[in-house]
């Protein structure tokens, strides 16, 4: 009887190489569907409309959230869960948005969650065939958090159009992991999971690309305004971002400051979980 059984004992403990192996990483994924209870990390999926956010969501959670090309498809936020390398993740699919600065009702959901919901990781799903357009949102998200992974989706379609994206250089330029993928075909999913796990655990040395304001007067005004916002809204994250929006005349932010509801529409991720449980 020389038949070898492949048991955990026979295979042995995973080595350091396993962590970078796609096969090993895929095997570590357990799709939990709508079960997002008792999670360790909250992951937000953001991105322009029609970048395949919901496809990424479905791939990771095993759910079949409607995918389709029309405005406001993801009305509020859809939630699901998955487990990867012994950690449980709650995944939120946010409505598609071109920007965090101008706001329609569904875009406000996305903006408020990224700003005030404090996800452990924000995954910006970008369309590799329209990278220039998609980097606008990526840079806006990087301006408020460094816990970001850029999922460069539709890479198969880009290839078909003869577009080659240098993900390594892009990773260096943006200062956060950029993962080329084709969620529809499962390509790049193991790499995405590994990047999410690293950023969530704080193991990735992020150096987020931040655009300078290049205007000392605005910088002074922000420095003056920020402590006042922090005093009026204790514990509010991203007060300097709020200051910049006020200086820019953002009416929805100004209204939220006036009536004291700033940041309260979205409970912090942990509190939201308790409410849902």
């Amino acid at each position: 009887m020389s038949q070898q059984l492949i048991t955990p004992e026979a295979v042995g403990a995973p080595t350091a190489h396993c962590a970078s192996c796609p096969i090993y990483n895929s095997a570590q994924l357990v799709k939990l569907g709508v079960d997002a209870t008792g999670y360790d990390y909250v992951i937000a999926l953001a991105g322009n409309p029609n970048t395949g956010k919901s496809t990424v969501f479905n791939t990771l959670t095993g759910l079949r959230q409607h995918t389709g090309n029309w405005s406001g498809k993801t009305v509020a936020r859809a939630e699901g869960g998955f487990r990867f390398r012994e950690r449980r993740y709650k995944l939120l699919d946010l409505p598609g948005t071109y920007s965090l600065l101008s706001t329609s009702a569904d875009e406000e959901v996305a903006r408020d969650f990224i700003l005030f919901g404090r996800p452990d990781v924000t995954v910006v799903v970008a369309d590799a065939t329209r990278l220039e357009r998609n980097l606008n949102l990526a840079l806006q998200v990087l301006a408020i958090t460094e816990r970001v992974v850029v999922a460069l989706n539709l890479i198969d379609e880009a290839r078909r159009h003869g577009i080659e994206v240098d993900a390594r250089s892009l990773t260096r330029d943006l200062g956060v992991p950029v993962v080329p993928m084709a969620a529809r075909r499962g390509e790049g999913v193991p790499e995405l999971l590994a990047a999410i796990a690293d950023v969530a655990a704080g193991a990735y040395p992020a150096r987020p690309r931040r655009l300078p304001l290049r205007d000392p007067a605005i910088e002074r005004a922000i420095a003056e305004l920020t402590p006042q916002i922090e005093a009026a809204f204790p514990g509010l994250p991203n007060a300097s971002w709020v200051a910049l929006r006020l200086l820019d005349g953002d009416e929805s932010i100004a209204q939220a400051v006036r009536d004291g509801t700033l940041g309260t529409a979205v409970a912090p991720a942990a509190a939201a979980a308790t409410a849902l449980a």
Partner: protein
């Protein structure tokens, strides 16, 4: 000339954006900045709105929005 004057098929470069506040912000977020190339993809049967191609994406703008965008056609 303004974007609204551009005939179907023509390409132009954005010179300036009019309007202010949320309206202007929206156009910027759609990738319409001074210097951006923009072309007329198709006009709806009633002449409004019009589909424009900007940065590899087709977007629809109403006439009143297009009128606020100053463009120049290449010589």
């Amino acid at each position: 000339m303004t974007l609204a004057d551009l005939p179907p098929g023509a390409t132009a470069q954005v010179l300036a954006l009019g309007g202010e506040g949320a309206e202007r912000r929206r156009l910027l977020d759609l990738g319409i900045l001074p210097g951006t190339a923009i072309s007329v993809e198709a006009r709806s049967p009633l002449g409004d709105p019009t589909a424009y191609r900007v940065r590899d994406t087709v977007i629809a703008l109403r006439r009143e929005q297009a009128e606020r965008i100053t463009v120049r056609r290449p010589q």
